[in-house]
């Protein structure tokens, strides 16, 4: 699946860490204040989805806001 061994190993280690983090869910004794907070793996899912939302929104804004580096013509004689 991945092009080289290094990348595969890195991803494997990362996945293991992620799974360990998820499994620690059992240790939590959440004193939940707000509703959805006690869904299983709430923080993991919320974190992942927030990031996806942020990246997509940024790409969208970027369509309007990105310009070439020379946009603000410097070296003015004014």
């Amino acid at each position: 699946m991945f092009k080289n061994r290094q990348k595969t190993i890195a991803w494997a280690i990362f996945t293991v860490i992620l799974l360990v983090t998820l499994s620690l869910e059992g240790l939590m004794h959440p004193h939940v204040v707000f509703g959805p907070e006690d869904t299983l793996f709430f923080n993991a899912i919320f974190g992942f989805l927030s990031c996806v939302a942020i990246v997509i929104f940024s790409k969208f804004l970027g369509i309007f806001l990105k310009r070439k580096e020379s946009y603000y013509k410097e070296g003015g004689n004014d």
Binding site: V33, F42, I45, F46, F48, C51, K66, K68
Partner: protein
């Protein structure tokens, strides 16, 4: 230190004044010792007492007054000055160091001002000296950026001054007293021109300009990357955090700050994600982090105010560390764009390691200073039952890891092989980074926050950050945000572009207005020129018609005849005169 009421600000400024007159190696000594002396003095100053007054023109200036949060801000400002001085010890230009020390000193001056007038004097001194720091930079576009920086800050200063003057004439006192500002006063009915509200807004806006609150924020990402590798470390520490201090002291609990802060947080994240220059990413990150502090101030409970102050403390350290790391890369490679960097972990071990520590700290990873400080604000939000604010802060924490925790180290040190193999920077720079990396970790060792960080807060706090729940939920949040980063990596490719910001108003749009005005003003001149030419031609024609060699007069009266007649008349006159 002593019982003499010497403001820490004066210590720093005197140190700055000494620097140009002493030998190079003595300078290194002075530059490192001055912040330490100032810090010692900070710990000498009690809360609530005015130690030094000056009477000028019937106004009483309190130049050494310890506010509730003066100690924690005074401490971190002197630490930041020390670290930045060490970082640029042999490499900084003299003019840069002198300006930077005056800058740090005036920040301390604001923190220990007891009245609005001395606050304003130090405020303006900060603006001037920080502009000089940018001017001293070796970057090409720094002069232009410094001018824009100066303009924005003087504009903010004028607004602030107007508010202060109005406040003093309204209330008769110039003492620094917290405003009690419920939203109803700040957003008055349109037909009720409440002087109190206007005064408060003027002062608030003046402070918000320095706090880099959008739309007054564009000066920050515009100018900080134009400072030198060393100057920007100073710049990142003082202006915005001084504004945070003033907000803490004057506007605690002002509800509108919660929403302003939330906007700042996400604005910072999104613009940081779009950015290519690594120090611009860090600059937007400053706006993002200050947003957290502003939210904390807005919530206004003891826990959230303490959280904002603790966060400011931790932030100055890890932000300075990040700027040092970026500055080291800039110093050793000459490049600052993510699209041109990468793979530096191979040879810049210390820089990469310290950069990663800073990145983890800003993300509030467990075992870093961010973890034991930032979460106080979210905790306060929970206590006040502010559900959406809390969700917002949670999403924001994920976003912080995304744009600063991973993006910065990844694109600079890993990502692709840029082909460059720079070594780690000179020893003093590595030492400065190492010390600050340690400072990111030490207060975060379980149980140590109470002994170090929390001790400096004005009121005792029993906040416990190392609960299983907090650690596990934070790890989940951050690690899965990291997963999102790598999954979405193709979408995050760095492009050699810039992103438009609010400064487009005066740099982009403003340019068109100036061009239009110039064209319009050229018009009367053009018309005038044309008319003048015509008139000139006509008069020349007339004159030559009469007076030139083949003109009317010349034709009618040949020279000889004229001479004869002149002599005849003169003779006649002579005769008449004598008889």
């Amino acid at each position: 230190m002593t019982d003499l009421p010497i403001p820490p600000a004066i210590i720093m400024i005197l140190g700055a004044g000494l620097l140009p007159f002493i030998h190079k190696y003595a300078r290194y000594f002075v530059v490192l010792v001055t912040p330490i002396l100032a810090c010692a003095q900070v710990w000498n100053i009690p809360v609530g007492e005015n130690l030094l007054s000056l009477n000028i023109a019937n106004f009483e200036l309190s130049l050494l007054y310890g506010h509730a949060y003066s100690k924690i801000f005074g401490t971190i400002f002197t630490i930041a000055a020390f670290g930045a001085a060490l970082f640029g010890l042999t490499q900084s230009k003299l003019s840069e160091t002198v300006s930077a020390f005056i800058y740090a000193g005036s920040a301390l001056g604001v923190v220990y001002s007891g009245d609005l007038i001395s606050l304003f004097l130090y405020w303006e001194l900060m603006a001037i000296s920080s502009t000089l720091v940018i001017f001293a930079s070796d970057r090409k576009k720094s002069k232009n950026a410094a001018m824009r920086y100066a303009l924005m800050h003087f504009l903010g200063g004028v607004v602030l001054l107007t508010g202060i003057i109005a406040y003093i004439s309204l209330t008769g006192s110039s003492d620094i007293v917290a405003f009690n500002a419920p939203t109803s006063i700040l957003i008055p009915e349109f037909w009720a021109l409440d002087m109190n509200a206007i005064v408060m807004w003027l002062i608030l806006i003046g402070v918000l300009v320095n706090a880099a609150v959008p739309p007054f924020s564009a000066w920050l990402p515009d100018s900080y990357p134009e400072g030198s590798a060393f100057g920007s470390v100073y710049l990142s520490a003082f202006t915005t955090k001084t504004a945070v201090f003033v907000l803490l002291t004057l506007f605690p609990g002002t509800e509108i700050l919660i929403y302003i802060g939330m906007f700042m947080i996400f604005y910072g994240i999104i613009w940081a994600i779009l950015e290519n220059d690594m120090r611009r990413i860090l600059s937007y990150s400053i706006i993002n982090q200050v947003g957290f502090m502003v939210v904390g101030i807005g919530i206004g409970t003891e826990m959230s105010l303490n959280g904002a102050a603790a966060h400011a403390f931790a932030h100055i350290i890890y932000k300075a560390l990040l700027f040092m790391s970026a500055g080291s890369v800039l110093y050793m490679t000459g490049k600052s764009k993510c699209s041109e960097l990468g793979g530096l972990y191979r040879t810049m071990h210390v820089t990469a390691a310290c950069g990663i520590v800073g990145a983890l700290a800003i993300s509030a990873f467990p075992l870093t200073s961010g973890f034991v400080s930032k979460s106080m604000i979210s905790s306060a939000a929970i206590h006040e039952g502010m559900e959406y604010v809390w969700y917002g802060l949670l999403a924001a924490s994920a976003g912080v890891f995304l744009h600063a925790g991973i993006k910065f180290p990844w694109f600079v040190f890993f990502q692709k092989d840029s082909g460059m193999r720079p070594k780690d920077p000179p020893l003093n720079m590595q030492l400065a980074m190492g010390i600050f990396a340690a400072l990111c970790i030490i207060p975060a060792i379980p149980g140590w926050a109470e002994l170090t960080l929390y001790k400096m807060l004005p009121t005792p706090t029993d906040y416990k950050s190392y609960t299983t729940e907090h650690v596990v939920s934070q790890l989940q949040l951050l690690l899965f945000s990291g997963l999102a980063f790598f999954v979405l990596l193709p979408l995050l490719k760095r492009t050699p572009t810039i992103t438009l910001d609010f400064d487009w108003i005066y740099r982009g749009f403003g340019r068109y207005i100036v061009l239009g005005v110039a064209l319009m003003s050229k018009l009367p001149i053009r018309i005038g020129r044309i008319l003048f030419k015509k008139m000139l031609k006509k008069s020349l024609h007339m004159i030559s018609h009469i007076h030139s060699p083949d003109g009317v007069i010349a034709r009618a009266w040949p020279i000889g005849t004229t001479v004869l007649w002149s002599v005849a008349f003169l003779g006649l006159y002579l005769v008449i005169y004598y008889f």
